[in-house]
Symmetry: none
Subunit: 398 residues, 2 copies
């Protein structure tokens, strides 16, 4: 990475990284979602582009969205782990600062000191929101640490400890089974004593607030985590990056690596307007479309293919902006036939009119990508490739 940074040279080229989340798939009647969808624009673009396949982490490994995006952004997910508390905070749109410690919380039911329901009967989200509001108002600070309690869905919430000298090196209070009492949280590192003390005091104070509740009369905490320590994207790659995504998790992941996250509406058309409106303000855009993944997760092959067609129809608007380098790919595959993330490599299209070798024949599918000019890449190779095609990397050696 330092090697790459040493080669950076600025210019005024513009790069677009389009992530069709989970676009890679598996075959129904011999055709994947991408091969099934009618995509005349991408097919035509493929003839004037290079194709390949990317593996997000390693052969056979199915990544979550966190590691898959980190890798695409050029950060090795095996080196920079994103803890559960951080992911949960990103998922509800909480903007963590460096030094914050975030944890996942569950409302739970306790009787005679032991847990009788780890999920408090999956209380409705509205009840959760009411309880988090009460906790936030009642427990604003402990010692010099600010406490933020944010509701998620059903019984899940996030607690953020915000202040100096905090550590995420803590045991969990969730015993992971019913019939046991909640555990006292203990420090796992020398400098985690203060955080353990504060978290345990938070739990005690929260239990007082909750004691009159019927179901959610206690809480369990786990997945303590802080933002990973990484060189911010602008510094690492010499780019001014703008991120366009509608879902909190992806906005959070972009922010976490140091991208500027743009305000946008909730539709794909909104995202494209945001892209066009901000075209002059950034030299790298991360443009994220979520629904291909959601349809894959739901096992809905046809809906996923429909979303791919929808993107294809929008593609000319993107091409009209005249980026120097465009990549169209996924973070990981989400085959509808598996109704979940998978380990299959992602289709990858690299369009760089001035610098890319081209396939010469139309067609964009997993099979075409497997035989593509770029071959098989690790997702970590994408950023160097985009920088090269943007002519932003100097010669190495003489």
């Amino acid at each position: 990475m330092e090697f790459l940074t040493d080669l950076l040279t600025p210019n005024d080229t513009k790069i677009l990284l389009v992530v069709l989340d989970g676009i890679g798939g598996l075959e129904r009647d011999g055709k994947t979602e991408l091969a099934t969808a009618s995509t005349p624009n991408m097919d035509g673009l493929a003839a004037r582009s290079s194709l390949g396949l990317t593996t997000p982490v390693d052969t056979g490994i199915t990544p979550g969205s966190g590691p898959a995006h980190l890798s695409l952004f050029g950060y090795d997910p095996l080196e920079h782990e994103i803890g559960r508390g951080v992911l949960e905070a990103l998922g509800i749109g909480y903007r963590l600062k460096r030094g914050d410690v975030a944890a996942r919380g569950n409302f739970a039911t306790v009787k005679d000191g032991v847990i009788t329901d780890r999920r408090a009967g999956r209380i409705p989200t509205e009840e959760n929101e009411r309880l988090c509001k009460r906790l936030s108002e009642t427990i604003e600070t402990i010692e010099d640490i600010k406490i933020h309690v944010k509701a998620g869905k059903e019984h899940r919430f996030v607690v953020v400890f915000d202040g100096e000298d905090l550590s995420h090196e803590l045991t969990e209070s969730d015993p992971q089974k019913e019939g046991a009492p909640p555990a006292v949280i203990k420090p796992l590192a020398k400098d985690a004593g203060k955080t353990a003390r504060i978290v345990n005091r938070f739990v005690l104070q929260a239990q007082e607030v909750l004691q009159t509740e019927k179901r959610a009369n206690t809480l369990l905490m786990r997945g303590f985590a802080s933002l990973p320590d990484l060189i911010p994207f602008p510094e690492q790659f010499g780019l001014k990056p703008g991120a366009i995504a509608t879902y909190p998790m992806y906005r959070g992941l972009a922010q976490l690596v140091g991208m500027h996250v743009l305000q946008t509406g909730s539709t794909w058309e909104d995202e494209l307007h945001t892209l066009a409106d901000n075209f002059g303000n950034f030299d790298f855009f991360f443009l994220h479309f979520k629904q291909t993944d959601s349809a894959g997760e739901d096992g809905d092959f046809d809906r996923k293919a429909d979303f791919i067609e929808k993107f294809d129809a929008l593609l000319p608007q993107i091409l009209d902006l005249k980026f120097d380098v465009i990549a169209i790919t996924g973070d990981h595959s989400t085959p509808a036939l598996l109704a979940g993330h998978s380990w299959h490599p992602n289709p990858f299209l690299l369009h760089a009119p001035a610098t890319a070798r081209t396939e010469g024949e139309p067609g964009f599918s997993e099979r075409r990508c497997a035989r593509g000019i770029l071959g098989h890449l690790n997702s970590l190779e994408v950023m160097p490739l985009l920088l090269a095609h943007a002519r932003r990397l100097k010669k190495f050696g003489a």
Copy 2:
């Protein structure tokens, strides 16, 4: 590897790894052995499977059977070296225990204290067997160490030192040239003193036994080695593995990584019966066919192609067992045109009806594999890939 082990999740899927030893080849009249052979069953299966090429160690490296199999089994052969003594012991079917030290022996001729023939005139195997029997009966133990002397072919044999506190860190007694005396064996590590003393005493006692022999009146020892220290296959991959192979070396390699080696007959049909009979008892099978390699080693292109055709005819029996995941590949290439192992990547076919992307067109050859969906893999990636397709790996991160 630890990373992979953390992701393991058990289920009841079944995996088959078929090794057609040395199947990869070179072209005669434009076609390799595999492309020349008529293989309608594999050709058809390829259309419903993913193809690729695997490199056992590294580009341009020709591996022996030991490193090539270790790599396929998921163990880095550059980390886990199998010494010559161990390979030789495996090759004659001796079952080494952890802690044993094995060495290769040569019967040799000595006159006036110097070696006049390092191979004792390549004495017949029967004479070798007679001498090894005498040595075994005369020298049963030295100090607390048991001594096992086992004949190989011609002048070659194996000595195993069996007991506590042994080390393979020793110099060799074979001076590798004639006209020199056999060397005294010296320890190469602090804790190898005891072993050096015992080995030198063994050599002296053996020379006494052999002194009346005309040709084989001394012995030379080299390649001291112990079993590599590796995490057993069942623990490493969460599988219950059964190995089916007819040749001692491959049975030994399977046993060495912790597979259960099944009793089987000497023919390929016997091996298939063993597979069918044990189908319910294991969830991973290593099924090894030797003769493709032997024909390649003999430079017999047509015989090698015939054996490939023979396997193809047996393939339907294998498919009838309904494995969830089948890989058909080689350990290394053995082109008949080179009459030996080579560095060329192995054809690799992955059949996983529920989870694999497919080629869509029939044909199984090195050329088709080079353009296959899986691209170029290192053999070390095979086990993670098989585990993924068997749905035995959890998602990494969220």
